[in-house]
Symmetry: C2
Subunit: 232 residues, 2 copies
């Protein structure tokens, strides 16, 4: 079954392309389903494809030689990932794991060069994606260098709700399962510290949280925490 261009027509990566161009791009793509917690690709694997996430959420994880794991970022719907080819890499620098059941398009890396010349605005958006990820990562380095754990965790939770938030009954909730350990791996902290802080914030009425679930009930207060301007 051919893929319908409506899948991708609205995405920023494809803005400025004709319908027929969309079709020819899609003709080379392949759609796949990835169940929750399955690995889409592994760190240091030979990079064979690049991907576009159609639905779900993906966790990008780096593992150190001695087994520590770091969450590099979460990928949201409509974003490119696994674009090692656009960076001139032959292996994936991290692994990608489905945080929930996911659907993604994939293209063989061999199509990259042709795609780039046929649809330069698509390639351009890939480069821009890489650029903004560089910015994000630099920002993270700055945070880790200058802020203490509470502020970093508050910032991380804020980013999660703004990028992947869903309106719930009592506030904005992160719409995929996320554990204390996950937050720790995003902030260079430990699950114990995260647990303590979430408990403290819950006492202050800023968040509500439970098993693999975080709801921010007072985003403004959390912002003050992130900026270390909270009155205590």
């Amino acid at each position: 079954m051919p893929l319908d261009r409506s899948l991708i027509a609205g995405l920023p990566a494809f803005s400025g392309l004709e319908g027929s161009e969309l079709d020819s791009i899609l003709a080379q793509a392949c759609s796949s389903r990835f169940p929750r917690n399955s690995e889409i690709f592994g760190q240091d694997q030979e990079a064979s494809h690049f991907f576009l996430l159609l639905s779900g959420h993906i966790r990008v994880v780096r593992t150190t030689p001695d087994g520590d794991q770091i969450i590099a970022r979460y990928i949201n719907e409509g974003e490119l990932f696994g674009i090692a080819v656009a960076m001139g890499r032959t292996t994936y620098p991290a692994s990608a794991v489905a945080a929930v059941d996911c659907v993604a398009l994939s293209w063989p890396n061999s199509t990259w060069a042709e795609l780039q010349s046929r649809a330069p605005s698509f390639a351009g958006s890939a480069y821009q994606t890489i650029g903004s990820r560089l910015q994000d990562t630099q920002e993270r380095v700055v945070e880790m260098s200058t802020q203490q754990v509470e502020q970093r965790i508050a910032s991380a939770v804020l980013r999660l709700v703004t990028q992947s938030g869903r309106k719930g009954e009592t506030g904005i909730e992160i719409d995929f399962p996320i554990s204390r350990q996950d937050i720790a791996e995003m902030t260079g902290s430990t699950l114990y510290t995260v647990s303590r802080l979430l408990s403290a914030w819950e006492d202050e009425g800023i968040v509500r949280s439970g098993r693999q679930k975080i709801t921010v009930t007072d985003p403004h207060a959390l912002m003050l925490v992130a900026e270390n301007r909270r009155r205590r």
Copy 2:
């Protein structure tokens, strides 16, 4: 005076280009001298040019709203910098300061699009530069998340000597002036801790250091420190 193509012919950014193409690229470039400690461009400034460092060393610095400074990286001879345009940015995300007297080529951003189509391999190398900086920065996040200060500082010093080292009499030395404060801003530490560690390493015969100068006399031992496998 026109610029001679020998200035750039050997650089990886221009590999695979014809001599005449080099000349036409150079025709649009402008060569400038930047004295030590002068600012080439400032953080959040409108990005007007991109640059290639011909000689010297440049420090890329991010400043936080409350005045903390972080050294994002050092630029070495032959590297591109200030390539905000390749990331689709309109402002520079950090400032660039000459660590020593420098000479750099610069191109107006307006030439980027034409350069990209006329010499795609040049643009490609810019994208690869961005990609490898993303990798480096991710690596730095991993280090800051998993290693303690002594290991991070050892790694930073090792990177400096391998990327910008010069053989001295007693070992490999970093060939531009660098202070304890600079190392601290590269590692998310403080000048006090850096000073203590350098003193300790000097007692162990791993480094020799003085005012704005660091010489590694035993790189292998420093590597063991970086990997936390030193026998004490």
